[in-house]
Amino acid sequence: MADVSTLNTAAIGNDAARNRLSAGPRGKKPKKTLSRRNIMLYGILGLAALYYLLPLYVMVVTSLKGMPEIRLGNIFSPPVEITFEPWVKAWAQACTGLNCDGLSRGFWNSVQIMVPSVIVSIFVASVSGYSLANWRFKGSELFFSILIIGAFIPYQVMIYPIVIILREMGVYGTLTGLIIVHTIFGMPILTLLFRNYFASLPEELFKAARIDGAGFWQIYGRIMLPMSLPIFVVAMILQVTGIWNDFLFGVVFTRPDTYPMTVQLNNIVNSVQGVKEYNVNMAATLLTGAVPLIVYFVSGRLFVRGIAAGAVKG
């Protein structure tokens, strides 16, 4: 019985196979474009993109309109009459308190804060990372663990002790003080970034350099630095955007005449005095956002790599 039945199915199977050969492929040939799935896919992505782009669009449009047009129209309509006056006003005349010299002051303050802070914080963190990756000593990993855990502590917990320390050092409220603060709070992420990068370089290179007689600083400067330009760029992107966007440290650790751009922007827009000039506000907001946006659009993939490195801790 068993033999007969298997024979039968085998024969049927053969027939079916022959039929299939003559009938060609089964099922519909998948269409490449404009399938329902693709419409859904791109539809949702397009809508999401619209939501993300909307604020940028609103900022640009508003900043190019005159105040009468803003009062009449709605915020999404394109400007009827394009004017750059709000931009000029935001840059050179907008008032914060008694000062009416515009955002330009904040911009230059931010530049003065950012440039040395970026350099100092990257230098200190890269040396720490190098030391952790290549020259471990007893306890170095423990200090590093504390540093990384510290990255999660809210700034508010540590701010006042820092105020006291800076005051004792006589640099509270000065540029030096703020540079120190940015170096401190940039340290966990940057040290992690550099430590992991240096540890990923072949260890044998480091050994070879030691056999060649190079010391700590010689290996750092002549072997490691030239090999690590990409990671320095990533760190720079991270720090330039991070420090430029900072608000809290700017408020706490500087005085009104050295306020960074973000603080000044907030003071201009949220000042209670006078008539609200929305177009000037939006121009000022765009000006403040311009620096990190330019960094973002220019650096592209490196920026993604930077935040991924900064975000994925441990």
Partner: protein
């Protein structure tokens, strides 16, 4: 085991390792290790990965700090010396060339760091480049070199240092088989030309056997046997060495020693093997559990037999390898391999007669795994 009160023989030692222990926390990588390397000797540290051979080399180089013990190079205690002051040069598996420097920059970096005069640097580079035939490559960057060229430059970097001791850390492992055998010959030639002490770490037994004056086989941070290649191959100290060296590997038969007709013979699964011709270091006592080891090329088949004791075996599978033919047979319940000439073929299931060459065989205690 801790030997050698200090005496004058030390003077001929180029590198001496005394009671070296290295542990990371509770993990002991090297345990109380002693090793003396003669002047001009080519010593190979052989073992599988994780046996501690590279760790030992790194300790000698000064790249790792020992937990206990002393290291002497040219009779100078260098245990706590910086790597650069030990009079060593080192060649790494990944070449470890500085990618941003030219070949010349790579060769001169160490000398510049040491503050050597320009003319002297140029002289040394010229000499090294000539020996290694890399003159046309001097202005290139490492990325523009082939694997073999990179390794030559890496050797050159050790050469310009003009040192007594060369350390090689698996220098050929990243190369393909053909280049590897070429550079192997070159390293051997270099050694004959320079007559430096060379310590060479590898996991490749062919490299070890072809290059070494002496081989130190390591396992779990302990040297299992330290001897010349012939001795290592023919008279392995213990079961581990016997199994590690040789490809295809040695056949092992577990059994015991029994009295038969007034002589001690080896017996496994009710088949007896005469031990005539075996050189033993201790009396063979009946009743002892042992392992008999015979290399595939030390077993005679059918026509090669000259009237000695022979055993019936059945051909199980055949592996023709060109020059040789490796046949796997069933003998007394064991599977064993025999190496015969490439032209001799056997049908599967065929009955053949095998004779063991006991003068080349090894006998190990089944418990201690030491050679008897």
């Amino acid at each position: 085991m801790n030997v050698v009160p200090i005496n004058t023989t030390r003077a001929s030692h180029s590198v001496s390792v005394r009671d070296l222990t290295l542990s990371f926390g509770s993990l002991t990588v090297l345990g109380n290790l002693n090793l003396d390397i003669h002047d001009g000797e080519f010593l190979v540290l052989l073992g599988s990965s994780g046996c501690g051979k590279s760790t030992l080399l790194n300790c000698i180089a000064g790249l790792l700090e020992p937990t206990e013990g002393q290291i002497f190079i040219k009779d100078k205690n260098v245990t706590w010396e910086e790597p650069k002051d030990r009079g060593i040069g080192m060649v790494f598996q990944s070449y470890a060339l500085y990618p941003q420097m030219t070949v010349e920059g790579n060769l001169s970096f160490g000398l510049k760091v040491a503050g050597m005069a320009k003319e002297e640097i140029a002289k040394r580079i010229a000499r090294a480049a000539e020996i290694l035939q890399i003159e046309p490559l001097l202005q290139r960057k490492p990325a523009a070199l082939s694997g073999g060229q990179r390794q030559r430059v890496a050797i050159g970097r050790a050469l310009v240092r003009d040192v007594d001791v060369f350390l090689f850390d698996e220098p050929l492992s990243n190369l393909d088989a053909k280049l590897r055998s070429e550079l192997r010959v070159e390293i051997k030639r270099l050694h004959q030309q320079l007559k430096n002490t060379m310590i060479y770490v590898t996991h490749d037994q062919i490299e070890a056997l072809t290059l070494a004056d002496r081989i130190a086989i390591m396992k779990s941070g302990v040297i299992q046997q330290l001897a010349d290649p012939i001795t290592i191959y023919n008279r392995p100290n213990n079961l581990f060495v016997a199994g590690f060296i040789g490809s295809p590997s040695m056949n092992f038969l577990r059994g015991e020693l029994v009295e038969e007709g007034g002589r001690t013979v080896f017996r496994t699964n009710n088949v007896s093997f005469s031990l005539e011709g075996y050189e033993t270091s201790e009396p063979l006592i009946a009743g002892r559990k042992v392992v008999l080891g015979v290399r595939p090329e030390h077993i005679k088949v059918d026509g090669d037999l000259a009237g000695e004791e022979a055993h019936e075996a059945v051909v199980d599978i055949e592996e023709p390898m060109g020059a040789d033919n490796l046949i796997w047979l069933k003998l007394a319940g064991h599977t064993i391999s025999v190496r015969v000439g490439g032209a001799r073929r056997y049908a599967i299931g065929a009955q053949v007669r095998l004779g063991f060459d006991m003068t080349m065989a090894s006998l190990f205690d089944a418990g201690t795994e030491e050679r008897i």
